[in-house]
């Protein structure tokens, strides 16, 4: 097992900041980005809170001086912003991005459905296609990046629902480890869409207030939006930036229910043990966990129960979703970025909006932003249809 894949650049945009420095500031100061939505067009603006990036598409294009064709959806715009930041942060040149040893692996669950009114129009009308006619696919944002930056290395786009970008990172790590690539730009993007808002609402798992992850009185999740890309490379003297290492990851299926976790947390257990096994680490080595922690009754109960059973001690953990909401395909990578920041800056972040531990488990999350020296962190992400992924990071 090679432990030499480092994260050398991060591009990130979300409700708590428009770049890695701003995100770090918000995490450190416990600033929550979940609010009444301003940009979103949905009846549910009045009912629910969202982790919205508070700029319209036009404002984003202006703010970042982007010159984009008119067929860029909100998802495409967010992906472009985070992608640019990532390779600039790593100090990669265009030649480096275009090398056939640089792979690009992305993920999205909403894709072009951010422009849902146009999609609906184009699906049922036989004339006057909208400008987004070629932009609805899950892969549309990635195809635009591949074309724009003339990427020649291997590409892939993953959609395993809410664990998508964690699986993308796992795939990139394996590709580099086996020599299919020397570098990777990897992550995920999802923007707020009436589609997912109505979907999660139909499943009755949107919170009436703030996502109270791991709280006895949690009542569901907040949806958010984000784009996150990481530059991964083999460790070398040329590495400009150094956030930490991606050590290993495990994926398993809970094989229980389309939208709920099994009581015994089989999928979570298998994902975690497989990640540890590949890293040749044991439960004692993990210093803290960025938990999936959506704030739904089912997820948080099963997740804490499984952590308590597996780690046999009170491990500090938090859910980054209490800051930005559930950013779906981007959420796994977002959680991993918070782990890297925590490891690098020797601190740990608080799980926000928490009051009372789940009675039957009594396993509360970390509540204070504080100095914390750690070597290994774990970040978990679980998606619909039983998909469970666990990634291990090293300082």
């Amino acid at each position: 097992m090679s432990g030499s894949i480092v994260v050398s650049g991060i591009g990130i945009i979300s409700a708590i900041g428009n770049n890695i420095e701003e995100i770090h500031f918000s995490l450190k100061n416990g600033i929550c980005g979940i609010k009444r939505a301003q940009i979103l067009k949905s009846k549910y603006k009045e009912n629910f809170l969202f982790g919205e990036i508070p700029f319209s598409n036009q404002e984003l294009i202006k703010k970042y001086s982007l010159s984009l064709s008119e067929d860029y959806t909100r998802t495409d715009i967010l992906a472009e912003i985070a992608f640019q930041q990532a390779f600039q942060d790593a100090g990669w040149s265009h030649e480096c991005i275009q090398s056939n040893k640089t792979c690009f692996i992305s993920s999205s669950t909403v894709g072009g459905m951010s422009e849902i009114d146009e999609l609906y129009h184009d699906a049922i009308h036989k004339t006057n296609p909208s400008v987004f006619i070629q932009s609805y696919a899950f892969s549309a944002h990635a195809k635009k990046i591949v074309e724009r930056y003339e990427i020649k290395g291997k590409t892939a786009v993953i959609n395993t629902a809410c664990s998508s970008s964690s699986n993308a990172i796992l795939l990139a790590q394996r590709m580099i480890e086996q020599g299919y690539a020397d570098r990777a730009i990897v992550g995920g993007v999802d923007s707020l869409s009436k589609f997912t808002i109505n979907g999660f609402s139909s499943l009755s798992i949107l919170s009436q207030g703030y996502c109270k992850a791991f709280d006895q009185n949690r009542d569901g999740l907040n949806l958010g939006e984000s784009a996150v890309y990481l530059c991964l490379e083999k460790e070398s003297k040329n590495t400009k930036n150094y956030y930490g290492k991606i050590i290993s990851g495990g994926n398993a299926n809970d094989s229980f229910h389309p939208s709920a976790l099994s009581d015994d947390g089989k999928g979570i257990t298998l994902a975690i043990t497989s990640a540890l096994e590949k890293a040749k680490l044991s439960f004692e080595n993990i210093d803290f966990i960025q938990a999936h922690g959506t704030g739904t009754p089912n997820n948080d109960l099963v997740e804490t129960k499984t952590m308590k059973t597996l780690f046999k001690r009170h491990l500090p953990f938090y859910s980054s979703k209490t800051y930005v909401g559930h950013t779906l395909a981007a959420s796994g990578a977002f959680g991993i970025v918070t782990c890297l920041l925590a490891l690098k800056n020797k601190e740990i972040y608080a799980n926000l909006n928490f009051q009372q531990a789940i009675e039957e488990i009594n396993y509360p999350p970390n509540l204070i932003n504080q100095p914390f020296e750690a070597k290994y962190a774990m970040s978990n992400a679980f998606g619909f249809n039983g998909n469970c992924t666990s990634i291990i990071l090293q300082r």
């Binding site: 949905s42 009846k43 669950t109 459905m113 849902i116 999609l119 609906y120 699906a123 049922i124 036989k126 004339t127 296609p129 006619i133 070629q134 609805y136 696919a137 899950f138 892969s139 990635a142 195809k143 591949v146 074309e147 003339e150 990427i151 291997k154 590409t155 892939a156 786009v157 993953i158 959609n159 395993t160 629902a161 699986n167 795939l171 394996r174 086996q178 009436k194 589609f195 808002i197 109505n198 979907g199 609402s201 139909s202 499943l203 994926n251 398993a252 299926n253 094989s255 229980f256 229910h257 389309p258 939208s259 089989k266 999928g267 298998l270 998606g383 619909f384 249809n385 039983g386 998909n387």
Partner: protein, 352 residues
């Protein structure tokens, strides 16, 4: 990597293998070729089937038909689809607009997630192993194959179910029609390859493969494969193919059979024509008059390549040129919309 078993559901009666070869090919006249499904009698319990959207049913049904018949228990499940369960997606979209974001039924939402296919299979067969879904447009299928290759290289996976599903619905037909992918007039699907107009016809399909890193008893061996993601000329494609053949120490004459993605669109056939000329001693086949065009149709071409080794016969309408009757290596080349190119090289298996 070795393909031990394969299975396809397509607009022809491929699910019952004998019919595909013996009976007359089925002709479609509405430019939309929908698959002919088996009954899934034993494959899917009714209690799960009742909720499945079409894409999920095709994927789960196809995989289960293959796995039950051959008593297979894969220790990885990897799926691929460019669009996933689009029909369910649009059904949910319709609900959003008709009920003005009111109380909606969640089933369409859950089923529209592309990983509902691989996930439902895991649920149905209590399979907890590696489970993922690739959605990189027309490259999804070969991306998924690469994922399987990585798993095999890691040495812990002894078998992998690789699946590919693409469904058409009136909605994505409409979207692709607006985007200019299909012909303006209705044609007979079996005449597709003779048409001289722009655009193709719409198809769909599901293909399943059971892969293994070591095998004595297999249908075909995957020697090499890759994708190219940009507008590429025939020369560029040929250069890549020659470099692949060099790496494998193969002469171009070693390619006994060439399967090409001819789709009846006169504006994008040039690469296929150039490859046909280059591989002058190979047999040449086409398939989209049977399946229609869809992003991941290269999965059907792979199934067909295996058929070449196994049964040595294909419907006559697939054969564009016969040069020889030794079958050793099959090369597959397909592109979607001229931008996404797939190349796959197969070697004959031990089992006929």
């Amino acid at each position: 990597m070795f393909i031990e078993f394969s299975y396809a559901i397509s607009p022809q009666k491929t699910y019952d293998e004998s019919c595909f070869l013996d009976s007359q090919a089925i002709n479609y006249t509405n430019n939309q070729l929908q698959v002919i499904e088996p009954k899934y009698n034993e494959a899917i319990p009714l209690n799960l089937l009742r909720r499945m959207g079409r894409a999920v049913r095709l994927g789960v049904g196809g995989a289960m038909e293959m796995c039950i018949k051959n008593n297979l228990q894969p220790n990885a499940i990897i799926f691929s689809s460019a669009v996933g369960g689009l029909e369910d997606c649009i059904k949910f979209l319709n609900q959003i607009y008709v009920y003005e974001e009111g109380t909606l039924t969640p089933t369409n939402f859950v089923q529209s997630t592309p990983n509902a296919i691989a996930g439902s299979l895991a649920l149905l067969t209590k399979n907890s192993s590696y489970n993922t879904t690739h959605v990189n447009g027309a490259n999804s299928f070969l991306d998924a194959l690469l994922d399987a290759q990585l798993l095999m290289n890691e040495g812990k996976t002894s078998s992998c179910l690789l699946g590919c599903v693409e469904e058409i619905s009136s909605y994505n037909y409409n979207i692709n029609q607006l985007a200019g992918l299909y012909k303006d007039t209705f044609i007979s699907s079996l005449d597709l390859l003779k048409t001289k107009s722009k655009g193709s016809i719409c198809g769909e399909g599901a293909a399943m493969f059971y892969l293994s890193p070591h095998s004595q008893n297999y249908e075909a061996e995957i020697i090499s494969f890759f994708t190219i993601q940009k507008n590429s000329s025939a020369d560029e494609i040929l250069e890549e193919i020659e470099s692949m053949l060099n790496k494998e120490n193969l002469e171009k004459n070693a390619i006994s059979d060439l399967i090409l993605g001819y789709n009846g669109d006169q504006e994008t056939q040039q690469n296929y024509d150039s490859l046909s000329l280059f591989f002058e001693n190979s047999n040449i086949y086409a398939y989209k008059h049977l399946t229609g065009e869809y992003p991941t149709s290269v999965s059907f071409a792979l199934w067909m390549g295996i058929k070449l080794f196994k049964n040595k016969e294909l419907p006559l309408s697939c054969i564009k040129k016969v040069s020889q009757n030794i079958r050793e290596y099959v090369l597959i080349y397909n592109h979607y919309n001229s931008k996404e190119h797939s190349i796959l090289l197969l070697k004959k298996g031990t089992r006929e």
